[in-house]
Amino acid sequence: MRLNGECMNDNKYSLIKLYFLFFLLVLILPFVNSQGVGVGINTYSIVLDGSILDSYVVSPKLINPSTYEIKVKVYFDCRDCTTDVKLFGHKIAEKTIDYRSFFTIPQNDFTVPPMTYGESGPTIVIRFSPRFILKNHLKIYTPGFINFFLKVINKKYENSFSVPYFTLFLGERRIKGLLVADVYESNFGVMGVRPSVGSSLEMTARGMPVSSFIFLLILIILLVVLILRKVGFEPKHIFKKRKK
């Protein structure tokens, strides 16, 4: 009887084990499908507004809704930084304003732990601090008949070259784009599809008004002339000395 009883208990336990395993399988199965990689930013809109005197920081945070650790690349995708330069209706160059003259994102690479929400997420620092001297790039497209010769010298030449140039920040400048958080690696395994989210970023920066710039320039010239006259400086002296 005892043996039989034990045998029955064994059967009962194996049945419980079987139920338990089945229950586990039922629990795990949906996750095989649903547990993927995800990403988020805790704001869908960022507004930067100020003048060249202002300097401040906006700090949105990254979200990781998945159960995997993710590595995220954060960058600004500018929509209207590049404009065409045309000559007689033909595009000859592209003018690109470097958004880093207005604001910077010092850190671009983040590791976000699983299930990270709210304040616990890594902070993306956007430092708004417009400069008085702006950096631009001019990408010039060379005509076909020149490209042949340039490719003889440099095989990797891509029919255009870029020249940086600087301008004074006069007037107002608006920039629109997306702050993108792009997952490029995860402990999920090999990722075949890269998820990313974009938070719209609008910047309005005010530099020196053109009228003020002209006014100040005239004022300075007048001041210099006055000082020169006061000290008895005459341009003729320079020429006379040179002649001697």
Partner: protein, 217 residues
């Protein structure tokens, strides 16, 4: 005491330098001088891909589902491996808007390039399978629906191009899911045997925002 021309020139130069350095402090528009912090931080934008989707889209032959086999029929729609899975035969490719989203998001996908030959009899980096259609000769097609069981069984859309975000959901509320099925009708039909591959991305933005530039570097 008479000042020499050299001294005057130095004075002028100093004036100019002083002018450049003080200019911005003197006359710039100080609209926000009394309120130097100005930021708009509001609701999150967040998505999660299904596990199968995160792994990638693997095309198989017309009849086999679940496991990837080489495509032999070049003139028909060939399924992605997880177009029909599980007991319900639903697709396992889906994107879910996070429960914490307070705004609706729109979702887009982008093929960074056509499918480029990786290995096999095809010439690596040269032979292609196009994702877009031309003259009804084939493409990579897809269909979508917010209910898994209602996703069409044949492509409704083709990829519109490479390096362009194509919308797959115009408005996805928090905790809602968009389900997608993928197919390939290889173009050109005489593409040499081999393994072809393309990078693929998904982007979500707030429903009134524009998608960004599709980059896969």
């Amino acid at each position: 005491m008479r000042i020499s021309n050299k001294h005057l020139l130095v004075a002028m130069l100093l004036c100019l330098v002083l002018f450049v350095f003080t200019m911005q402090r003197v006359i710039s528009q100080q609209t926000y001088s009394d309120m130097p912090m100005n930021a708009s931080i509001s609701q999150p934008v967040c998505i999660t891909l299904s596990g199968t989707y995160s792994q990638g889209i693997f095309f198989t032959n017309t009849t086999t589902i679940g496991t990837q086999y080489p495509i032999t029929n070049m003139t028909t729609w060939n399924n992605a491996t997880h177009n029909y899975k599980g007991t319900n035969g639903n697709t396992w490719y889906n994107v879910t808007a996070c429960a914490g989203n307070a705004i609706n998001v729109k979702v887009a996908h982008c093929a960074c390039s056509d499918l480029v030959c990786q290995s096999g009899s095809c010439t690596p980096g040269t032979d292609l399978l196009y994702v877009t259609d031309s003259g009804g000769l084939g493409a990579v097609g897809w269909a979508n629906h917010t209910t898994a069981s209602s996703v069409p069984h044949l492509p409704v859309y083709n990829f519109s191009g490479t390096d362009i975000y194509q919308q797959i959901s115009p408005s996805l509320a928090a905790s809602s899911t968009i389900h997608i099925r993928y197919w390939i009708d290889p173009r050109p039909n005489n593409a040499p045997s081999g393994v072809y591959r393309a990078n693929y991305t998904i982007q979500a933005v707030e429903e009134k925002s524009n998608f960004g530039t599709c980059t896969c570097d």
